[in-house]
Symmetry: C2
Subunit: 883 residues, 2 copies
């Protein structure tokens, strides 16, 4: 016989805190607290499996029925009360409780078991007629709504009418007689509306209530919530049936909520609110203003109220004792619900409290210092993504926000400024001290300077790995991308959202953490890095085995990343260096060269620029490895689009405009992602790579002379066959040998693994490579056959329909793309014991993907500078999780 029901009481408790999947979070914690001997009203939990079983047959099997009845008897004997009769009637609360908290999504019924007889017994027993009849009318109101499906408003408005007729403004001013009348009227309305009599048999009440809670798992708002939060529909919810205790039985009764530490900043202070003579629902409903439980919980709106400490010192002392016990037991800050009935304290729920990132950090560090948790436990308490809040400015949570549109949260942080539509304008306004937001249809490498000058970036097209998103994350700039609700008209310098037009100079604010676009200038709070942060990150560094590098293309970003703890550069994209105005003409001349010698001439102009770039980066990374990727994008990405630029180029290289136009046409590609790029350029135009490697070698030699410890790694992109790598290796090694002459110069030469074929033939490729770096952006594109620039059209629908569990450009697809990464790592290491293996795709900064990288034994991950701390923590958590 399956076990469908688990009891909890001081006499017998069958569950514990680790049984959340079966008992739900609430049920598991009630059982745990009971086991600890804490004052929890007894009850029982009907399991999530019973829910699933019920969903299938829409009825309860005999075993469930029998087990509920047995558990009910245990509650009766534990409380000395009788359900459905006698002079000391037992009442129940019936609450849902899923594996994870789904606040407000499912239903609750209180005071279950009342009817015309038991209400009289309760009245007599409590010696409080008003309380008994108030409880009864509350029960009917809730039950009618939750179980019988009546609209909430109908009974509520009857209550309001009554108050109006009596000229009072609060329920507390109604007396027992009022509630008796109300019960009568309620029953009539229910009979009218539903065609059913209100059930008077408590057992019938109970079964219908359990059924209703199970049914609420599939109500539309619960389904929607699950979709939004990625909660599987087949988990089901448990139902907790618990003996009622009453915070509303008189002035020696109260109910409240408390946190063991301050959830907004993490300070070690006990903190909470309570209401005298009230039920829990009243605190939530906000009808009365709750009072502070102690001095330090006081604020401007409740400063005059009496604290619980003053009002019920004994119960408060007991609560203080219990919260400390709970925190030690759960090893985390707790969010506790309590009720005091006739001066006796009961705990109704405890759970790990929600908190801000800053609070989480402080709490974790303090708990370790207090000896409550180990370093490892402290590290596991913080969601690595939450560090984003600490590393970036954020919106003042108290400010009002007029949200006008929502896009993808492409790069975290908040920024406010004046709208500009052109990168040039962004740069010049920034130079004049004006804060600007760059708004573009989409960005291209030509916008880099404008992006750097802006407070934040907003684009109408492009996904989480679009150019704007990738570059903004690298710069640590807030970015909202792919905001399809806005219409950008950069020619006329306007942006239309809905039916409102914004012009250049209008203020907007972006929240890159949520994707919100807000009208006007919302105040922001600065990043919150402090000593706790440093201490915490040092623990992470102690424990992790994965190295963390950064993706950075210039000295400034490199310095930022090192400050954030980067242990090297995992990807330096050399093409980003090509776009500065004084260089781009030479790049274009190179593209239009009609002979190798002409191309070499143009490349010679670029050489000194590249050399200086590399010197700056070597200096910033003194002593740490710098992985430099040779030219990757197809040449047409560098071509001019505007007629004016084309004319300038024609003049510069002294050809006819027609030649430029034909060249642009000729270089057009149908699928540039799969085109003439990466090492394919290196094979067809070896002089390009030769120039780059010359610049690297010269920069390294000069840096060495200046006392810098340089460790360059030269990386060849888009390799599909071992032959490509062996050909290029031969050419590049020869170049290096020639440039270095008789000087000492150590370097590594390796390849991206970013095509399925490279992963499959990794064993061959490894024999020509000192390292592999997985370019999981492109590997995801090719493995899925999915262009990240075009996926927006259907990817959202794919995720909402659960075709994909998540965006594979955000979190590595472990089953498909991950299989290739693992396979290539194994094959590569078998073929070349010395090979060093890392990942430099966007996934290198995503915690789940980092866990995967740890499990398959990569040497390092690489991510944008601002994600380095996130990666460090995620890498440490991976060690702990996979121990």
């Amino acid at each position: 016989m399956s076990k469908w029901v688990y009891s909890f009481s001081k006499e017998k408790t069958e569950g514990n805190k680790d049984m959340k999947n079966l008992l739900g979070g609430k049920g598991a914690n009630l059982a745990e607290m009971s086991s600890l001997g804490l004052p929890v009203p007894p009850g029982f939990t009907v399991t999530t499996e019973a829910c699933i079983d019920y969903q299938k047959t829409k009825s309860f099997n005999d075993d469930i029925k029998k087990q509920v009845e047995e558990a009910l008897k245990l509650v009766e004997s534990s409380t000395g009360k009788t359900f459905g009769g006698g002079d000391n009637p037992l009442l129940f609360s019936v609450r849902s409780g899923a594996r994870v908290s789904m606040p407000g999504m499912m239903d609750t019924v209180l005071n279950l078991g009342l009817n015309d007889e038991t209400v009289e017994a309760l009245s007599k027993k409590s010696d409080n007629e008003r309380f008994a009849w108030d409880s009864y009318r509350r029960f009917i109101q809730m039950y009618a709504n939750v179980v019988m499906g009546m609209s909430h408003s109908l009974l509520e408005s009857t209550l309001e009418d009554l108050k109006e007729a009596k000229g009072v403004d609060s329920d507390t001013k109604l007396d027992a007689k009022d509630f008796k009348n109300l019960v009568k009227v309620y029953k009539q309305i229910i009979a009218q509306e539903t065609g059913k009599k209100f059930p008077t048999d408590p057992m019938e009440q109970l079964w219908l209530a359990i059924e209703a809670v199970f049914g609420s798992w599939d109500n539309p708002r619960a389904i929607k919530y699950r979709q939004l939060n990625g909660i599987p529909g087949d988990w089901g919810t448990a139902v907790n049936v618990q003996a009622m205790v009453f915070g509303n039985m008189g002035d020696d009764c109260a109910t409240g909520v408390c946190f063991t530490r301050d959830p907004s900043n993490g300070e070690k202070k006990f903190f909470g609110e309570y209401l005298v003579n009230a039920q829990g629902e009243d605190v939530v409903a906000g009808i009365r203003t709750p009072a502070p439980i102690n001095e330090c919980s006081k604020n401007d709106s409740n400063r005059s109220e009496k604290t619980l400490e003053e009002y019920m010192p004994k119960a408060f002392a007991e609560l203080t004792d219990l919260y400390q016990q709970l925190e030690k037991h759960y090893k985390d800050m707790q969010d506790i619900e309590f009720t005091i009935e006739a001066n006796k304290l009961y705990l109704l729920q405890t759970r790990n409290g929600k908190r801000t990132a800053a609070a989480a950090l402080k709490i974790a560090v303090n708990l370790e210092e207090e000896g409550i948790v180990t370093k490892e436990e402290a590290l596991m308490q913080i969601d690595p993504e939450a560090l984003n809040q600490l590393l970036h400015p954020r919106l003042d949570p108290d400010a009002t926000k007029n949200i006008i549109a929502k896009g993808l949260p492409a790069s975290p942080g908040a920024g406010a400024g004046k709208i500009v539509f052109h990168s040039d304008d962004a740069t010049s306004m920034h130079e004049n001290g004006v804060k600007v937001i760059l708004v573009r249809q989409e960005t291209s490498p030509e916008d880099i300077a404008g992006m750097a000058a802006a407070q934040a970036i907003l684009t109408a097209r492009g996904g989480m790995t679009s150019h704007a998103a990738v570059v903004a994350r690298g710069m640590g700039k807030p970015c909202v991308a792919g905001c399809s609700e806005i219409l950008v008209d950069s020619k006329n310098r306007t942006m239309i959202v809905g039916d409102k037009k914004y012009v250049e100079g209008d203020f907007i604010t972006l929240d890159g953490g949520t994707g919100e676009v807000i009208e006007g200038e919302v105040p922001t709070l600065d990043a919150e890095i402090n000593a706790d942060f440093a201490k915490f990150m040092a623990w992470a560094d102690e424990i992790r085995t994965l190295r963390v590098r950064t993706n950075a293309d210039n000295p400034e970003d490199s310095e930022t990343a090192v400050k954030f703890g980067a242990e090297g550069i995992g990807l330096c994209r050399t093409e980003h260096m090509f776009f500065e105005p004084e260089r781009i003409l030479a790049v274009r001349e190179m593209i239009f060269a009609d002979s190798t010698s002409h191309r070499e001439k143009a490349l010679k102009k670029l050489l000194p620029y590249q050399k200086e770039d590399f010197k700056g980066i070597f200096k910033a990374l003194d002593g740490k490895p710098v992985n430099i990727r040779l030219l990757d994008p197809p040449l047409h990405e560098f071509l001019p689009h505007e007629l004016e630029d084309k004319k300038e180029l024609a003049e510069y290289i002294d050809v006819e405009l027609k030649t430029i136009e034909e060249g642009c046409e000729r270089l057009h590609e149908f699928n540039p992602m799969l085109g003439h790029r990466g090492c394919r350029l290196g094979i067809t135009y070896p002089e390009i790579y030769t120039m780059q490697v010359t610049a690297i070698t010269q920069a390294a030699l000069e840096s060495i002379d200046e006392g810098v410890d340089v460790r360059p790694e030269i990386m060849i992109p888009l390799v599909a066959t071992a032959k490509e790598l062996s050909i290029l290796r031969e050419i590049l090694v020869a170049t290096i040998e020639q440039v270095r002459g008789d000087k000492e110069f150590n370097y590594k030469l390796g390849t991206m693994i970013e095509l399925p074929r490279a992963a499959i033939t990794a064993a061959d490729i490894a024999t020509h490579a000192d390292f592999f770096s997985f370019g999981t952006n492109d590997l995801t594109q090719t493995t899925f056959g999915l262009s990240r620039d075009d996926a927006g059209r259907f990817l959202t629908e794919y995720i909402s329909k659960s075709v994909l569990p998540s965006d594979p450009f955000v979190s590595l697809d472990q089953e498909g793309v991950g299989y290739l990464v693992k396979f290539a790592t194994e094959q590569g290491r078998n073929a070349n014991k010395e090979i060093h293996v890392g990942i430099c795709g966007e996934h290198g900064g995503e915690p789940k993907s980092i866990d995967f990288c740890h499990r398959i034994g990569l040497d390092y991950v690489s991510c944008s500078p601002y994600r380095v701390p996130i990666a460090r923590l995620a890498a440490a958590q991976a060690v702990i999780r996979n121990k």
Copy 2:
């Protein structure tokens, strides 16, 4: 000690015909013939390994020297002659001989061993002074050119001057004295030109000659030839040193070449030419007209000459006997060189003779009928690709051709006609009985009708799997694609090649088997299918285990394919059905629909068309499986490009032109290959697939009522995850169930495997699929990260530089893409024992790829109709090869 030298003589022979890699083709066959006791002049072969060794050190090691000297002694004792002296001097021919024949690419020296003394001995021994001195001057002339590097013309013109001075027109009119003088003059010229004396020591002559032959392996024309024919540079050549026999010692001497069957049509008749009193070189040089060896070798130009049969009946009888022996021994038609010295017959070479495809077929069938070869051996004699010659019209080989450009040989066959630049013109001119060649920059689905109307298609862009190439092969039309030498200006209806302009109406001829574009109208020969062909293909069908299906999209192509032996359809692309003028508007209306119901309305218009298409195909394939792929290409492929068409559409669906233009803009994709296509359309717009499946089901039910045996297989394209397939399967099965009502209807539902992720997760996918079909075109694109539309820019260079062994879109990349195909097949079969697995990419018709498919155990291959016979033969050969 390594063995560098292999002797052959009646006394001792060390090699055999299977040692071609070591001894070269000529050396292996000389050894084989010696072993058989045939009259082969004795000699020895210096191996290809010796060549490689020589290339490394540029000198001969001691072992080689010793072994050559020993082998030379054996020849002396076998012939009773002495090398370099005595009264019976031994002379040698020194010839190259690589693994595969490289005709005319490397060098030969005859009569080696002559000097001022041995020439006198030869004169005395042969009693023919003229012969001796003629041989000497021939030797000096050849040697000076081949070994000493002098230009051929200098000594040749001296000979010409002499003839002129004597007033004779032929060498035969010169006498001994003339040749003596010539020898003297030659030596002077050589000393003058090279600064070296002509070597008189026969041993020195021999070593320098061997060195020269080894060196000729790396002469520019040999390197070029190897590149063109894919022969590795590290094979090297062998050198054959063989005792000279003389066809030029008098009128009882002769030399000739013969074929054991007619190489042009395969008829069983002995066939050849000879010259009295001549050396082999004279036959090739064409100075004298050779005579026929027998009656049936006579032709218009030699009818008056005496046959060998008449002139030397004994030698002829012996030759007849020997050729029959050789053919039986080699089990193939032989190409034999012979020399008759003083009425004694010698064989100098035998090899399998080159032949036309028609001849090859006849010979193979006859050899089997004569009991010389088994069926299996007969099947292995024909290169499957050669069948193309039999299935398509070809250019008359005797016609003169003015080749103006060369493109990719995209679809075999030859066609001539008037140039047209627009599909509409092609159609209308064709209707008026004019033969046309459609010339386009590139073709799109809108050109289908024009392509069908044309004799052949020429495009300036696109590779072997471009639209033009794929569709042309499907239609069996000749096509030359990617011919970058032509500039197409379709607006002005001109085509420029070099500096010549061609206008609409000018005649051109295309050879799709070679890629040649020829000016004017070249006569063509018809396809040559006959009873031999049927018999031969029946043998192939008996032996092969792979089924062969076809890729066909309409009833006509389906019928053609069935005629060629297709056992089903492996790929029916439904989108090709969308382009006909009366349908395309409804397709476009569907794309522009702004709601599901509007889309369904537009789709309803398409339903009857699709249904009729399927009925036609089911009828053509009666009893055979028909695999139908649901819509695959991105929707923007169906959008209008021309303003006029956009206007027409706007009117048709009653919206503003602006809406159409915006829609076209909105649907644009950066990488359409990786975009919103395949099952991604099916997931986001299920109504499209629902319509298609409804059409299939209705067509099937109606066909069944008409007595047709229908076996539809419904195929879902571009699946990346098992979930996509399971979602669509559920929707489509429900549709089918609804449409079929209570009628019996059997079908299969499966998927393409054309993305790396699908291959990797094949085990999961297989649980939802009745079959897999490998779409190796797209799988190659994604595995390599290589767009076939853009690869042209560098793929040629990749192949010429040996970065890739061959075009992976033509021959399956077995190491990379093949790995995924094999892996997915194994995983799929493990997960689903019933699963049926085939391939429908272009590789399904390529012999090497078919061999691979056989080895990994696929159930079938599918290819374009005209390649079905090729696939049938290749599949049979795969069985034999892999036994």
